[in-house]
Chain length 183, copies 2
């Protein structure tokens, strides 16, 4: 059923000032074989939030994202600051990007982005009964518009490919799944 690999050595082969690091690891498999070039990629970890208002509408953002290279729908979210707790980052990003605040938070799950390279940790949250607390001011490069969509519309838009980023699709599906199994 598998045992852990042993990291014999790790060498940083690329790093930039945007916290992107590539490392080449020498690893030993449980059967004794040694792989001399198993690469790891490291990027800052992030939070994604499925937030609903008291009326049950989902806070979505319409914006250009350079990863999928198109104007699309996203959930609120962003990078975790150095030393910041993921739950605090989720509250901060929701407030910055949507102006909303909630005191009903659930962690939907914590996931690794890359099965082989690691890459980053994605913390998915659900926030209920979110209320307007201030004017949004994300400070992000992206020019974004806040839209409140019904959960049904969000699922339809997801099926149509309007939410192209995997952490957002995972959060939407997990939030709707927990709604259904708990009802």
């Amino acid at each position: 059923m598998g045992q852990n690999w042993r990291v014999i050595s790790a060498e940083e082969v690329y790093r930039n000032d945007r916290e992107l690091i590539v490392s080449r690891e020498e690893v030993q498999l449980p059967d004794g074989r040694v792989i001399t070039d198993f690469y790891q990629v490291q990027l800052p970890s992030h939070v994604t939030i499925y937030a609903t208002t008291g009326e049950g509408e989902v806070a979505c953002l319409r914006q250009y994202k350079h990863g999928p290279r198109k104007v699309c729908l996203t959930l609120p979210g962003g990078l975790i600051d150095a030393g910041e707790d993921p739950a605090e980052a989720a509250k901060r990003e929701l407030l910055e990007e949507t102006g909303l605040s909630s005191n009903q938070w659930i962690l939907l799950g914590t996931y690794t982005l890359g099965g082989n390279q690691g890459i980053a940790t994605s913390h998915l949250f659900r926030a209920a009964c979110a209320e307007e607390a201030r004017t949004p001011a994300s400070g992000d490069l992206e020019d974004m518009t806040l839209e409140f969509l019904s959960p049904e519309r969000v699922l339809t838009e997801m099926e149509l490919g309007s939410f192209p980023i995997i952490s957002h699709a995972a959060a939407i599906a997990l939030a709707n799944l927990s709604n259904k199994t708990s009802s």
Copy 2:
């Protein structure tokens, strides 16, 4: 609501023989601002398969994965070969890793791994009524064990964190969500 960014120039700043490429792009935002160092990461795209047998059990693999750095549960899946169609890659990976074959395939969704850096495309599939067609032989570095779990057990294991990779969680949640909404 946002417009596309314009890529002024792109320079490859790191590349290795495992198809990992890092590029630094100079991009112009819709308001005219120019960002000189927006980084893109490129890794091979992959497929993930939520496959159920005629009895409704889900084909899972227990194996060590170096990204999350632990022995865990995964769904079958793997990298798309050069020039290979994602649907063909899904059939090949399911057969190689589990020995199963199916003629009932649904695309659950196609997602971008990194909202900012792109990174890779994750193609999520559902295969129903899968049947044993041959002996598994993945050719992967990982020593894996095939386990058939009930859908309820898969959801419980996911909640417990036993499926740590985001594409697997997304496929599990999307497959169960489509089951619920269609029933």
